[in-house]
Amino acid sequence: MTIFTCQDNFAARMTCIYDAWASKLGHEHVQLRIEPIEQLEFFVDYVHVEADEDKTEKVVRTVQREISMEAYVWMYYASLSAEEDALDTTYRFLVKAFRYGSKICQMLQDDTVMRMMEIKRLVGNEAHSFREFARFTSYGDMAYIAHIEPKANVILYVAQHFRDRMPSENFVIIDDNRRLAAVHPKNEPCYLKELDEEEISRITQAEEVSSGDPFIAYWKEYFRSIAIKERTNPVCQRNHFPLWMRRHVTEFV
């Protein structure tokens, strides 16, 4: 058994798929994992794969041409997923996809296809959840800042939504886990930026210095008043709004 490992980004994942395939070890003799690998196994070779632009492009082009655009979209969503088996499932999915062609996305009775669909759905749902639950705080005239901690790497989808929603505002969405920020200057396109230590501390400082946002208090009051006491139902509330998503949500902190 050979395990191909790579870093957690789209290009590295695609290159990893390319290399595993090109190794000609046979599909059943390879596995793909995302680094870091915490527990090493016996009798297994680990091969680290570095991201390669050409190989990435080849994989993308081949999938779009030989299978379908839909399959590519699934693959792209899966590359954002934080599920442990996402990369390996993508590989197994492609093996089958090259055999069955464009109808693969409908073949839900197949376990791999089903799992792939689930992974895609998880990412899509999470992106939607953070469109709903991202909370901005106003820091004077500076900008509106939102912190999120999603499991999958959905910041781009979230930022796209807000770009359309408030095109004429300055805002920043920060993924605290990945140290990634989507920055949107007023009336301009949005861009992604990796934050370094210094930038993060500057943001934290600015947040501490600025005076409280009065609308936080109004919103909390509204949130309390709108609930009907006779119908209190915390289980239903938790089903719709899981606890782990509430970390940066104004009305719960």
Binding site: E132, T137, N233, C236
Partner: protein, 503 residues
């Protein structure tokens, strides 16, 4: 107008009182219209609707649902804000409402505004104030997000029209399904003052849609195309007995009223002289997300059959997007109302919503679900299982052969899983395992389906047997719905009997 950036106690109090007074309105949806954002404006709209939070009662918060004022000239018995109630009354100014909406919106707390109001001075005055607020929000504040506005029964037509051009969705609350009980409970309103605006709004919406080259009728869930029986494409199934000869009771009279109010309605146009005629220049479609209504359940003696028949009539005659139900919470003491310690009929509300979904997505008609002889839904079993048990002759169906409409009739299979089954079976055989992963709830479905010619278990297809098993499975969930609000904890001598202080 209040200063942005400082905390203002009177605003805080108004938010508290007016949100508290608005909480019994149920329609907090932001769905039905797709609109991209524009530079220089604030906001967009998504047809799927976006919930932003969930309150302690588990209901979604999508819009800033607030009353403009809780002053009211009407004395509707079921309402917390009725004239005869001694509650603190406050009013938010248009500027205050706009600032709250826009600032909340920028922080992603809400998807838009749901503006309703008590009747202050007169319906016309109230409606004018509402329109003024909306106009301010759309023009001065450049708000492009979702707005849902309640129309006040008895307001003049030109104001209704103005509101329609500014808002995305309009709603008129029917409150009660029959003219009789509405008269009894809400002396200020009549069935006509509710139905007239509804039909006028509908015909104006239809005209606007046709002018734009769309179908005059609102968009419905796409699955409905494949359902011959769907209420949106088929007039109601004719009554089995010749009801024409039978003496009409109050319910039927009300149903007839709902049906006939419609064709008389004309178009409504915003007034020319008023300041509000500016609304014309905003260039917006007339209520693009359609209209909705709500009914209170449990305050009067209507049966579930009355309610779902009225619902179906409303969908068919007024092309409403949604009909909402609100379980009556005993807040007022009155001889015509249930006593104050009556339990909130949560499970009944749940069953009605299930039936509403069966009509809108599954191609069921009200008459299939209930009848005069069986006017209430069963508590222990959901309406779809109940229907299936009464029609065991149609089952079991084979998932590899049955068409979409047939699959949707199986308890445990919904529009999504039915579609997945249709897709998947073109390319290979299905198994119970794969059905489960596609989202079929086998717990309920396995009594009614075969897969590859076999049932999942060897069971007799007998009503009693299946009924027993289904109710056992569902018992716990039903109990949770009807007792949702109750919380328990382990009694302790120290906490519960004040021993802590004594110690």
């Amino acid at each position: 107008m209040f200063e942005v950036g400082t905390l203002n106690d009177s605003i805080m109090e108004k938010v508290h009182i007016l949100a508290d007074a608005a909480k019994y309105d149920v329609a907090c949806t932001s769905s039905g219209v797709d609109r991209a954002g524009k530079e220089g404006m604030l906001g967009n709209a998504r047809a799927c609707g976006i919930c932003h939070s969930f309150a302690a009662d588990g209901r979604c918060i999508s819009l800033l649902k607030i009353l403009m004022t809780n002053h009211c000239e009407f004395d509707c018995k079921y309402c917390i804000n009725r004239k005869s109630n001694d509650v603190e009354r406050v009013t938010l100014s248009p500027e205050e409402i706009c600032t709250l909406t826009v600032e909340f919106y920028k922080r992603n707390y809400i998807e838009g505004l749901f503006l309703s109001s008590g009747v202050i001075q007169s319906p016309a005055y109230t409606m004018e104030k509402l329109c003024e607020t909306l106009l301010l929000l759309r023009t001065k504040y450049h708000f492009n997000g979702y707005i849902h506005v309640k129309t006040i029964p008895g307001a003049p037509d030109d104001l209704l029209a103005t509101a329609g051009y500014l808002a995305d969705r309009m709603s008129v609350n029917l409150e009660l399904p029959t003219a009789e009980s509405l008269k009894k409970m809400a002396p200020g309103k009549t069935f006509e003052t509710v139905l007239n605006p509804m039909s006028k709004i509908q015909s104006t919406i239809m005209n606007h849609r046709e002018a734009k080259g769309k179908n005059a009728l609102m968009e419905r869930a796409s699955g409905n195309r494949y359902l011959e029986n769907s209420i949106f494409y088929q007039k109601a199934i004719s009554m089995e007995t010749s009801a024409a000869t039978a003496p009409k009771d109050d319910t039927e009279e009300s149903l007839a009223m709902i049906e006939t109010a419609s064709p008389t309605a004309g178009l409504i146009l915003p007034g020319k002289d008023a300041v509000l005629s500016k609304a014309d220049k905003v260039h917006r479609a007339f209520a693009p997300a359609g209209q909705s209504t709500q009914m209170i359940i449990g305050a009067t003696q209507e049966t579930d059959y009355n309610l779902i028949m009225t619902t179906q009539k409303l969908y068919q005659t007024y092309d409403l997007k949604r009909v909402f139900y609100s379980a009556y919470i005993p807040i007022n003491e009155d001889k015509d109302l249930p006593a104050k310690d009556t339990a909130v009929p949560l499970l009944r509300e749940h069953r009605l919503y299930q039936a509403d979904w069966l009509m809108r997505f599954y191609g069921f008609q009200a008459r299939e679900l209930l009848s005069e002889k069986m006017p209430y839904f069963r508590e222990n079993i959901d309406p779809k299982c109940d229907w299936a048990l009464r029609h065991l002759g149609n089952f079991p169906v084979d998932v590899e052969k049955e068409d979409y409409a047939g699959l949707l009739r199986v308890p445990g299979i919904g529009p999504k899983s039915a579609l997945r089954i249709l897709q998947a079976r073109r390319y290979g055989h299905l198994t119970f395992e794969s059905l489960k992963k596609m989202g079929v709830v086998l717990k309920r479905a396995h009594y009614f389906i075969t897969c590859g010619g076999r049932m999942m278990f060897r069971i007799p297809i007998e009503e009693k047997y299946i009924m027993n098993h289904l109710t056992q499975d569902e018992y716990k969930d039903n109990w949770k719905v009807s007792h949702g609000g109750e919380q328990y904890h382990q009694m302790s001598l120290f906490q519960d009997f004040g021993m802590e202080a004594a110690r």
